[in-house]
Symmetry: C2
Subunit: 335 residues, 2 copies
């Protein structure tokens, strides 16, 4: 493990041992639904409240990842997790069920990648043999907390994103597997002085562009290095801004996609600008991307998870919305 350039890290021995994905109905019924391990047919997941449903999703994602990896909970040295709820309660309440040390993280929708970056350090330095990196989001907990009660039935502009209902778990390990975590770039908080809480993709785009540029500079690479460059949840509006910024900077890039654009079937499903939430990047990373790397359909993927560090109270205080973007590289090492 060593620092590369200004803000990046190179790992030698961090493996993505196994991963799991659990979702709500909308994600299952979309184009990449077949890569989701388990889904619920209704948002409540048979729980009495939305929050308890989200806790259940995280809990089950963790247990499923253990099962797939043939591990027991006592084999996990550390859980690193976060979500969008106030006081990241989906993560804390999930962790109380297990006798495992816990680090709570918050990077808004970038948390899936942030947890892997922080977790990788503990694997690479041999402090723990296995760590679990978990995130979740839930359409109904987010709508209530960040927007309006769904019962209000307020209309939405087309720039709004749709919060993904789902949880993903990445088990990092010193034990060899087909996929390695090889690189990371830790993001900086970037505030483009943008205030529209109904258009978070645009607010996060500059942070994503800066992290991409930093990553290319730090490793002295360009887009040809990767089979796929993936942003977290910029969705339609944000991706356009992201591409515009990079064009302005003269940074060529291709093989690009955004988890928020991939997760739903936007021709059929009413999801406005696309998907968002901690679960968005997490479902794509731990589902589709993991499968593509396992089967060598992709070899080297750069994932730039994005987070809008907004808070309804500061928006009411006329504050702008800062963004952050953390990046990791996953590589297929199958022979």
């Amino acid at each position: 493990m060593r620092r590369v350039g200004e803000n990046s890290i190179e790992y030698n021995n961090v493996y993505l041992l196994e991963s799991s994905t659990i979702s709500g109905p909308r994600e299952k019924n979309a184009q990449l639904g077949k890569f989701i391990d388990k889904s619920y047919n209704e948002l409540s997941c048979s729980e009495k409240t939305w929050e308890k449903a989200e806790i259940k999703l995280q809990n089950e994602a963790f247990l499923l990842a253990l099962e797939k990896a043939n591990l027991k909970s006592e084999d996990i040295g550390l859980i690193l997790s976060g979500d969008l709820n106030n006081q990241i309660i989906a993560s804390s309440y999930m962790a109380r069920k297990f006798n495992i040390p816990h680090i709570g993280l918050y990077g808004a929708c970038s948390t899936a990648v942030l947890s892997i970056i922080v977790g990788a350090n503990y694997i690479e330095s041999n402090i723990f043999n296995n760590v679990a990196c978990l995130t979740s989001s839930h359409y109904a907990t987010s709508e209530r907390q960040f927007r309006f009660p769904t019962e209000y039935g307020g209309q939405k502009p087309s720039s709004t994103t749709t919060t993904v209902t789902g949880s993903g778990c990445s088990l990092l390990s010193t034990k060899k597997s087909n996929i390695k975590v090889t690189r990371a770039t830790i993001g900086k908080v970037v505030d483009p002085n943008y205030k529209d809480v109904q258009d978070l993709g645009r607010a996060m785009a500059p942070a994503a562009a800066m992290t991409l540029r930093q990553h290319f500079e730090d490793f002295n690479v360009d887009a040809s290095e990767y089979d796929l460059i993936l942003t977290g949840d910029l969705s339609e509006c944000g991706s356009i801004v992201f591409k515009d910024i990079l064009k302005e900077w003269g940074i060529e890039f291709y093989n690009y996609n955004d988890c928020g654009l991939m997760i739903y079937d936007r021709k059929v499903q009413e999801v406005f600008s696309g998907g968002s939430g901690c679960g968005c990047c997490s479902l794509i990373l731990n589902g589709y991307i993991k499968e593509m790397l396992s089967t060598k359909k992709l070899n080297k993927v750069l994932i730039i998870a994005t987070g809008a560090l907004m808070n309804p109270l500061l928006a009411q205080q006329k504050e702008s919305i800062p963004g952050i973007a953390h990046a990791i590289v996953l590589e297929s090492v199958m022979e």
Copy 2:
């Protein structure tokens, strides 16, 4: 850096290079006020909102730590920070002012120690030469968010704690100083099935006791190892429960105190059960403890920061309040 026992880590080269503390008036006018670097006479800190006041506290704590260490912001490789506000906005909005990678953390009031634990890994593995670990809390932002609007004038039971207004910054470094971070024990989420949101000390006490026991077991030490064993913010009600649990377990310990009991002058100030909040442990650690270690009045201190992972919404859903406690050891290495 190596794992010790089940959940603990030993560090060899992590120094507390410098630290800083900024507070509101109540903390300054208390018994340990003389160890606080800078204070405001009013809670607003000349800002228009409580939230902006808290952002200012964190911002100034960071700048002051840099000044004391004779460093510039570009010398800092990483900021690790968290606070109690929804979406840890004091931390994110502070970080947007600097061109420095940021990791957002949430461990409720245990975040001061959690940030040092996560930060120490980046120092020990030589990824960054200097990292800044920051936390804050503010009486008025917390009252509004977790309890009632202060204008409501609701009466409080004597078990309530008083949220500390303040921010502390710990600069960790590979550069030698008089104080080393030598040990850490990462806490587990412990839920004692306790539901009184007006008595958080009691809810956190079992987590603190479990972390203390784990720490003693992992390093094969007892209380005689330390000049001082300090819990975060159990305050009066919680400390009693903490001591009772340890007595029941047959664990002898002495030289014990709690930051929540130390921070205010409870004979004169109306603070109920004592102080709490991310700023509580942070002000004591970065102020008083740092000074005692620098002057060799203390040599080896175990700090167990405690956090109640509560959320008003889940309390309304009749959920219990889980706690967590993370521990570090600071040692004077002055010759």
